[in-house]
Subunit: 408 residues, 2 copies
């Protein structure tokens, strides 16, 4: 058997993310930050909350005024005033005094705690009875308890979830510096591939990979830029590839998995300006004939044409590179769901296998059921909920093994 | 202690999703389908693939021509032609014949399998040697093997991932009917709350919930429509609430967790056209003082003002309702990550507790570390990766218990 290329381990390939740098940054509106990657450290310019607040409806008091009080032995406290929401109280609280306060209200000077209204009884307009002894700080969020002025509240490289947006809102950050979304070019190749709008003639099929890869790029936080279908020849592919490099931050070329096509893809990539073939073949299945090249500071990928192989290579290999150039410093994290394997799965040693699985709950146990089928069949990806990875030194997994299911 | 409201179990509240119906549908472009919910059954109007295809580079043959061949005893086969990619072969293959074919190429009539080029040797222009015996169907994806004409390829109610988009592309579905994204109104209340653009005076804080809830609505597949901050009085809230109901498919009112505010929120909701208070208090923590009302066919929520409570209520209670009206028939599915609890956690029986946790891997084990803190502190949500749920009949969880971590 002819040795077409020298395969590299997946772990080694992922080390090459260090060759690529984050894209430029931009300033956006707070309302648009969802899912974006922060490109600046955010420092608290004030305490949060800026004043001590009540977390309950009740009376602001000095805790010591309540010491020893109980149902049998209530404390008698005089009303010093009422605190309006959103206003700074104009009076102080002394020993033996209380002020009516609502949830979120500002504690008056002198008060250090709030007794819930349920633990009090109104005697008359000037006096309440208190039935419980409370400690200082009870039912209060102290000034600066959430964040102290001067502290780092969010670090550069953090992905912005709803709570991070809320935190930026709390500090009045209406404009935020984030990394731009990287633009990822997608090129489909293959003389048999026709656009979706076309009815395929005999021997032709419609372009699937432009759509699956665009979707995966969006999920990974990038902006897909599709170049349609390029016929299998050096000149066409080279021209489009240079155009794509100019217009985007990374290029994905799918297809060209036949030997001849692979040969001229390699030729095109080798001839790009300031280029280098970094990887030609990865020890994963499906997805072995994957190419990683560099042109200038940008990555250019040749990924297999089979729809399943292309999707698996994207998830396992390409996505970490997109996350790296997105400025996301937590790119290596991938939440996985644990499930029990429903049948034995074979795997060859010396390569990392990705198996499509469907999740099914039976009697309270979550099972991962392998979805078998050729890597050219998209129905297997549609039936699957995720992928399991079988490590390079594992010969296979037995039924009942706990596996980690990753999602695309 | 005064009984302010009668709390309902979480499971009971979730049954009320059946009261609400999916929003209208619309037709969108294939390229915009990512994350949308399909509103039609998609039936295959042709076989996929529409012809038998090779999955390898090699020679299309009748498998029987290879029977008995081996390295020691090769079969001699005549070349009947070459198959160009994307074209229908003009010739047939008979016993003892072969045609050169590339990955993805169309099998000629008569051929039933493909022998890899690596298992052949070219003798001359007319003849090859074959060193391996293969079975019919070897290295071939049969016509219709992915999907047969007339079969249901995607059901109504399915969420569209990259692979579903790819499948729609394969069948040339350039336009797809999906459910509209539900528009969710967000109203913040509280006399102490000021817009993000404003520097809070003493006693005031900025509006966080409009931002956290908008982010959560986006993640749940909805479109947030924010109405800003409404001062704590009946008239203002009632006016805005009616406007919001008119402009959207669901209304979220955050804040009003103080007794007085809760009272007039209930009053406003009771007075809405064709209205009904369905739930007033849910046995979850945080988030107990949550209100679910109905006005006409739309849900109106009163959710607590504390940022953590509001986010938890959204994830645990509101989100399933948004998924229901989105037409998503798999709305009850929530992927969870298994982890080991790093410390004991107490919980009261008779309520469902949601505990914020941070995930940390130590020596190959994934730990869920509780992030403790008051429900008014947003830093606890920023530190957390997800939530764990402690069931209504559980008194607490011991360190080392396996827990399911859900994400917002």
């Amino acid at each position: 058997m002819k040795d077409f290329f020298k395969v590299v381990d997946l772990a080694k390939v992922l080390e090459y993310v260090s060759l690529f740098q984050a894209v430029e940054t931009e300033i956006i509106h707070l309302g648009d930050t969802q899912g974006r990657i922060l490109a600046e450290n955010i420092i608290a310019d004030s305490d949060l909350p800026p004043f001590s607040r009540s977390t309950m409806d009740g009376y602001a008091v000095q805790a010591s005024s309540t010491f020893g009080s109980s149902d049998e032995n209530p404390a008698y406290i005089s009303i010093a005033g009422q605190i309006a929401m959103g206003e700074s109280p104009s009076f102080s609280i002394k020993q033996g005094e209380a002020a009516r306060i609502s949830t979120g209200g500002m504690l008056p000077n002198g008060a250090d705690s709030v007794i819930m209204i349920e633990h009090t009884e109104t005697l008359n307009e000037q006096t309440i009875e208190i039935y419980k002894s409370i400690a200082p700080g009870h039912n209060v969020i102290e000034k600066g308890e959430d964040f102290l002025k001067g502290s780092l509240i969010l670090p550069k490289g953090r992905k912005i979830r709803p709570q991070e947006t809320g935190l930026l809102a709390a500090f009045g950050k209406e404009k935020v510096r984030v990394y731009k979304k990287p633009v990822i070019s997608i090129i489909s190749t293959g003389d048999e591939v026709v656009p979706v709008s076309q009815i395929p003639a005999s021997g032709q099929i419609r372009d699937i990979n432009s759509y699956t890869l665009s979707g995966q790029v969006k999920e990974a936080g990038g902006i897909p830029l599709t170049f349609g279908i390029v016929k299998d020849n050096y000149k066409n592919l080279s021209d489009i590839c240079r155009k794509a490099l100019f217009q985007s931050d990374m290029v994905l070329i799918s297809g060209g998995s036949s030997v001849g096509a692979r040969d001229f893809t390699i030729e095109v990539l080798t001839d790009l300006p300031d280029s280098e073939i970094i990887v030609h073949g990865i020890s994963i299945s499906p997805g072995k004939p994957t190419i990683l090249a560099r042109s200038g500071k940008k990555a250019v990928w040749g990924i297999p044409g089979h729809v399943v192989s292309a999707m698996v290579v994207f998830t396992a290999v390409v996505k970490p590179f997109i996350e790296k150039i997105s400025g996301n410093t937590s790119w290596y994290k991938m939440p996985a769901v644990s499930a029990k394997l429903s049948r034995n799965v074979a795997s060859a040693q010396g390569r990392t296998d990705y198996i499509r699985v469907r999740l099914a709950e039976k009697e309270g146990i979550l099972w991962a059921e392998p979805v078998l089928g050729k890597s050219g069949l998209i129905n297997t990806m549609v039936k699957a909920d995720g992928l399991i990875k079988i490590g390079i030194n594992t010969e296979g997994l037995e039924k009942g093994t706990m596996v980690e299911v990753i999602f695309q």
